[in-house]
Amino acid sequence: MSLNFMMNLVWISAMIVFLPWCAFALEDRPYVNDLKAPENRKDLEALQNAVSSALPKARAATVCIEIKDGSGSGVIISADGLILTAAHVATGVKQKVTVILEDGTRLKAETLGLVADSDAAMIQITEKGTYPFVEIDRTDSTRLGDWVFALGHSGGYDKDRGAVLRLGRLVRIAGTTFQSDCMLIGGDSGGPLFDLTGKLVGIHSRVGQQMQVNMHVPMAEFVSHWDGMRNAEFIGEGPYAEKPKKGNGFLGLATEPGAAGGLKVTKVGRKSPAEAAGIKEGDVLFKMNGVALKDRGQMQDLLEEMSAGNEVTLETERGGKPKTFSLALGER
């Protein structure tokens, strides 16, 4: 992390020279963005018209994400259902979540990777389909003072209400944070911030004590961690997601070497994940997650590499008949 930061510093001096390079004018950039403030009815209507023409597509791609204890928002960015959201909404990698589209359709999805120190995350809809999506601003074209609009399922999904729309300006740019005066609240987290052309420029992250402080993760942060997130990596150390601790998983059984190979269960812990899954004393374990079990030390090593909440498949025999158990590791 600190190495990365150092490199940024080094590169800043090298890049300043190229500044004019970045200041190209975008053809579809609405003129109101280049006014210090709208001055008259024509300017106000230009703003209003830009929002209403961008809105239908933006709204269709905005989703509610249901997680264990609550809900957040997200936005679909590809026809096959890749979603950008906040790390504190995804909470971890490879977690099962439910995605709700604007019309109420509920879809199964799984969290991919996340960046724990900037609050960026990806989710993939796992049901096959063609989904409405928005384009993302890959060129970091948003400037301080640009008009933006926010969508999100404030306080949770509400079909009669729909996703809530708010208009504001980009009022501060600092490091990996955009600040706007689009007012956010719980449930908006992970939802999209759009520019006036309907391009995705940020993901809602958090609010400040003061009412006008609303923070978003800029697209640049997603772009710079794209491959890692797609590969379901847990990037960074927090604070927006807690890294699962390796080796804190707990199965709840004791074994001894089996007479004909494998590991024979000698004891099943009361109220343990093993007991809940139906494993009984005398069962012989042959494979864990497809890996043949040779001795107790090797099984312990495999468990050390996993964390609480990870799925475990155990192939066993009971009275000579094969039996397969699936369970999630408990927390030790």
Binding site: R41, D160, R166, I173
Partner: protein, 333 residues
């Protein structure tokens, strides 16, 4: 390593504006003076046709001028904690407004001031305007000048069902087979209706009440926002009152959820409306009761609740117009 350098480069681009310019001057923010200046024609409508409701020097909320001779609509629950009201329209202060009537369903009160030649609001033809449409409402005010805040329509028109169960908002003690009021919640309908400590409840909706279970049975299927007729005894006198049932979440604000905690001020009465439009003008909680204007300066509705940090509600113009006509007719009968 190459990938790492690339990654740094990309994140660097986002750092560049930081070096040049970090923060937008407050005048150019959405609620800033420079932006708000673009709405001067609409501000002039607020100047003439919105009202400031005051108790002494304290601003309670805003109101809508609906007749040339001084009928003002406002948010009932914001003014009923006081018993006298002065009203400012434009730069003129009108003392001692009369409370003609209230409508508990919409939480609207009709006030009358001694005035003439006021300019009532002009109603917009419909509240069915697309999301993203500009709207304008009262912001802060000075003694003589109305200020404004602007925002946009942000969600579909819908009902806001009452939050929490309906309750009278009183603590009762059983005293020789009768129910005596031991305490009243500050935000309760019972307090608004003038009930006091020591009053003995006799009947609710014509049914005798002698023990707490009797009340629970009567209120079980009633909605917050509706009213019940209560007959009670104070000393030797038998009195009656129409008491608004408030929602529990409205009266007991210690039952705030996480979103409430981050919302700063919000309206106490913010649920239980038959229909609302939603917008993103989010001033102080007292910025309710006034008109919601479109860019033509026409009245799209009445601001009825700042629900939370991100959501404000207004009574849609169709409902407001019907309500205004009915209240005017009933109050002159």
């Amino acid at each position: 390593m190459n990938a790492n350098i690339l990654a740094s480069l990309i994140s660097l681009v986002s750092l560049l504006p930081t070096l040049a310019q970090q923060s937008l001057d407050s005048a150019y923010r959405t609620t800033g003076t420079a932006v708000v200046a673009a709405f001067d024609p609409q501000r002039q409508v607020l100047q003439r046709s919105s009202a400031v409701i005051l108790n002494g020097r304290q601003e309670l909320c805003y109101g809508i001028v609906i007749s040339a001779d001084g009928h003002i609509l406002t948010k009932a629950s914001e003014i009923l904690g006081s018993s006298t009201w002065d009203v400012t329209v434009d730069a003129t202060k009108y003392p001692d407004a009369k409370l003609l009537m209230t409508d508990p369903t919409w939480d609207v009160a009709l006030l009358k001031i001694e005035a003439k030649d006021l300019q009532p609001v002009v109603y917009a033809p419909t509240s069915d305007v697309p999301p993203g449409t500009w709207v304008v409402a009262n912001g802060a005010t000075t003694r003589t000048t109305r200020r404004l805040l602007a925002g946009i329509v942000s969600a579909k028109i819908r009902e806001i069902p009452p939050a929490g169960g309906a309750a009278l908002g009183v603590i009762l003690k059983t005293k020789s087979k009768s129910l005596e009021i031991e305490d009243l919640s500050e935000k309760s309908g019972a307090k608004e209706a003038g009930l006091q400590k020591g009053d003995i409840l006799l009947t609710i909706e014509g049914r005798k009440v002698k023990k707490l279970e009797d009340i629970a049975t009567i209120l079980k299927d009633r909605k917050a926002g509706s009213t019940v007729k209560i007959v009670y005894r104070r000393g030797e006198k038998e009195l009656s009152a129409d008491v608004r049932l408030a929602s529990r979440s409205e009266m007991f604000t210690d039952q705030m959820n996480r979103n409430d905690q981050m919302s700063g001020e919000f309206s106490n009465h913010r649920s239980g409306f038959p229909r609302v439009m939603q917008h993103d003008i989010l001033g102080a909680a007292s910025v309710v009761g006034g008109p919601l204007l479109d860019l033509d300066g026409r009245c799209l509705g009445m601001n009825i609740a700042r629900a939370n940090r991100a959501e404000s509600f207004a009574i849609p113009v169709e409902d407001l117009k019907t309500l205004a006509e009915r209240m005017m007719a009933e109050s002159t009968r």
